[in-house]
């Protein structure tokens, strides 16, 4: 009998029951909640007279539509304000811990749970948000769910789940200098396509993954869903253990060591086999930019905008439509394309290492005339850490806006939006039509490329601005 994959180990450990008329019931160790996908779920509980089964396994924060203006500014949009108030009321009524706007632990749900040490190896984690895949970086099985499932987990702490297929994405060798976790995951999504991971849980493996920091691994796992996979995983190693040590949500001393010993088992067995295998040679990777309206439409920063003639017939119509929406002409060098807005933030790239990478490029430079550049830290903890290092001064001196934490322009639910026709370089995860504001045109990039692009006013690498 061959060994088990990490996914299979976590799956089997969490099976509660195997009913005949339902998929297997999976126990959920941690349920993360935010204001957008929860109000209708709490309403459902209220209608049925059901409590939250495990408030001690449920954690809420406000992130999707909080303004990133100074905390003292009231929420101007009455519909957003109401949604934030409803989250407050629901958490109070059902006994759920909430980190509201302005709280020292508040931030993007996928940033705060790992940084607080609430996300731990071997856990099952869900949230009404598709980027829940982020937490897989810690060796946890984490995936996004819809509001009906949010209600289901609130009521039962379980989910009926069919078993997924497993895919190994092995990244061999070392990433070349200047190539980041973001470039790596954009290349992976480009290779798999937006549907290539559908039905799978991806385990990222290989030397290049092992060499990434925890934050880099989070960036990679975060975008698993852009390849269609609901979850991404990285096996636990000493990088994971050292990341967790000392965080508020984990035990200390002897108890931490005991927990660490338990966590170390969360890796695939050497002889485990996967349903699909993809191998990527890290040494061939370069900085990437998306050119189109889905995250698989990627091109090298040094490349040119593709032509509909370059793709298989079945994709042609989608490419023509994407070029028209993006207002791009085939064969244009990417570096010749000017941008109006640069956004550094989101659950993909708003952690301290991301801000350090962007600040290293911005230091002593000036944002190009006519470009609006925003830096939105992923959480108050990230913001405080960055300020302690003086990164806020670097950004502000270079002409970037230094804002309060939240999802912000990643999805434009708050006032941070593109206006029709504006073009952005964004460290977020989705370049869908209208994603950052109606008629906006989004190009996804790494934090370093975003900062260089802000300074040059056109897509640029850090080396071009003297890095």
């Amino acid at each position: 009998m061959s060994g088990r994959t990490l996914y299979e180990k976590i799956w089997e450990e969490h099976l509660v029951a195997a009913p005949a008329d339902q998929p297997p019931l999976l126990y959920i160790d941690l349920h993360l909640v935010h204001e957008v996908t929860s109000p209708q779920a709490f309403d459902g509980l209220r209608l049925a007279g059901r409590p939250v089964r495990r408030p001690d396994r449920t954690l809420a924060t406000a992130d999707h539509n909080v303004p990133t203006d100074p905390i003292s500014t009231p929420v101007a949009d009455p519909i957003s304000r109401r949604q934030l108030e409803v989250l407050d009321e629901n958490c109070r009524e059902f006994g759920v811990t909430l980190f509201p706007r302005g709280h020292e632990n508040q931030g993007i749900v996928h940033v705060i749970s790992p940084e607080l040490g609430v996300t731990q190896p071997g856990m099952t984690i869900v949230c009404g948000d598709s980027h829940t895949s982020t937490h897989g970086a810690m060796g946890a099985l984490a995936f996004g769910i819809g509001t009906s499932e949010v209600e289901h987990v609130l009521a039962t702490q379980t989910l009926p789940q069919s078993r997924a297929r497993t895919m190994a994405v092995t990244v061999e060798g070392a990433l070349p200098p200047g190539v980041t976790a973001k470039d790596l995951v954009l290349a992976i999504v480009g290779r798999l396509g937006t549907g290539g991971g559908a039905g799978y849980v991806i385990e990222y493996r290989g030397e290049a993954i092992r060499s990434l920091s925890m934050e880099g691994r989070m960036t990679v796992c975060n975008m698993s869903i852009e390849a269609g996979a609901r979850a991404g995983l990285v096996a636990v190693d000493e990088t994971t253990i050292e990341y967790l040590r000392g965080r508020p949500g984990v035990p200390s001393g002897e108890e931490f060591e005991r927990a660490a010993d338990r966590w170390r088992q969360y890796a695939s067995d050497p002889d485990a086999t996967f349903d699909a295998d993809v191998v990527i040679d890290a040494s061939t990777l370069v900085p990437m930019v998306t050119w189109g309206t889905n995250p698989a439409q990627v091109v090298a920063l040094d490349g040119r905008i593709p032509s509909p003639d370059d793709v298989p017939a079945e994709q042609r119509e989608a490419v023509v439509r994407a070029l028209a929406y993006m207002d791009l002409t085939p064969a244009t060098p990417v570096r010749d394309i000017p941008v109006d807005v640069v956004f550094i933030g989101s659950c993909t790239n708003s952690r301290i290492e991301d801000l350090r990478a962007a600040a290293a490029v911005a230091r002593g430079q000036r944002v190009a005339p006519g470009v609006r550049a925003l830096v939105v830290p992923g959480s108050h903890r990230v913001k405080r850490a960055a300020e302690a290092e003086g990164l806020d001064r670097v950004f502000v001196d270079a002409g970037f806006e230094w804002r309060e934490p939240g999802c912000s322009m990643c999805l434009g639910m708050n006032p941070d939006q593109l206006t029709p026709g504006q073009r952005s370089a964004s460290t977020s995860n989705r370049n869908f039509e209208g994603r950052q504001g109606r008629g906006g045109r989004t190009h996804l990039v790494s934090p370093a490329v975003a900062a260089a692009t802000a300074i040059r006013g056109r897509f640029a690498s850090p080396t071009e601005v003297g890095q």
């Binding site: 954690l59 949009d77 639910m413």
Partner: protein, 201 residues
């Protein structure tokens, strides 16, 4: 959820692949705390265009949406399903679906009919050429047809999803029958809850 057995009505050819959930319902609509009224936001960025297919009089009142490859990718927002259903759609036909979207659809009773790309294209052509033609989706027989044109295809649904659609079952009610097993699991699980210090702070 109300039981779903047979759906019958006009079909609308959307004529696009890669329709993500941001396009089905843009994020500005996600600020609402209600579960109803999202139909007005369905494809709202495209509906400003008078030529957009949903604006054409011959497709008013349609109940089957004909998509293409990779329908409903991206965000987990169940609002996408609520918007389609609130608008009046009871089934979506495509050659592939986003996983979370398909799951959400099953919870709400929106039928997702997955066919091979050729059959989807044939159906799109049929309802383009004859907008009045009725499309019938039979969840009992697992078949979709356009009787006026003698066109019929079988499709597959997860047996569990089909059973739930046909009976209109409530998932939470089904799960709570296993309350004892959930409690047993909780007694033996080694995974601690969220640290008390964080819960109190």
């Amino acid at each position: 959820m109300r039981p779903v057995t047979v759906i019958e009505g006009r079909g609308v050819p959307l004529g696009r692949s890669d329709v993500d959930t941001d396009q089905i319902i843009p994020s500005e609509w996600l600020k609402r705390v209600e579960r109803t009224g999202f139909g007005r936001g369905l494809f709202s960025e495209w509906r400003d265009d008078p030529a957009f297919v949903l604006n054409r009089p011959e497709y008013q009142g349609a109940s089957v949406l004909v998509g293409a490859a990779r329908f409903g990718t991206g965000s987990s927002r169940e609002h996408a399903v609520w918007a389609l259903m609130d608008y009046g759609f009871e089934a979506v036909v495509a050659s592939s679906f986003g996983d979370i979207f398909r799951n959400n659809a099953a919870k709400q009773g929106l039928v997702t009919v997955q066919l091979d790309a050729t059959s989807v294209a044939e159906l799109a052509t049929l309802v383009t050429d004859d907008p009045g033609a009725h499309v019938v989706v039979d969840v009992t027989a697992l078949a979709i047809e356009v009787p006026a044109h003698g066109w019929r295809r079988s499709f597959e649904l997860d047996p569990v999803v089909r059973e739930r659609l046909l009976n209109g079952w409530d998932d939470i009610g089904l799960t709570l029958r296993h309350d004892g097993e959930i409690a047993d699991y909780e007694r033996r699980s080694a995974t601690p809850p969220i640290a008390a210090a964080l819960r109190e702070g």
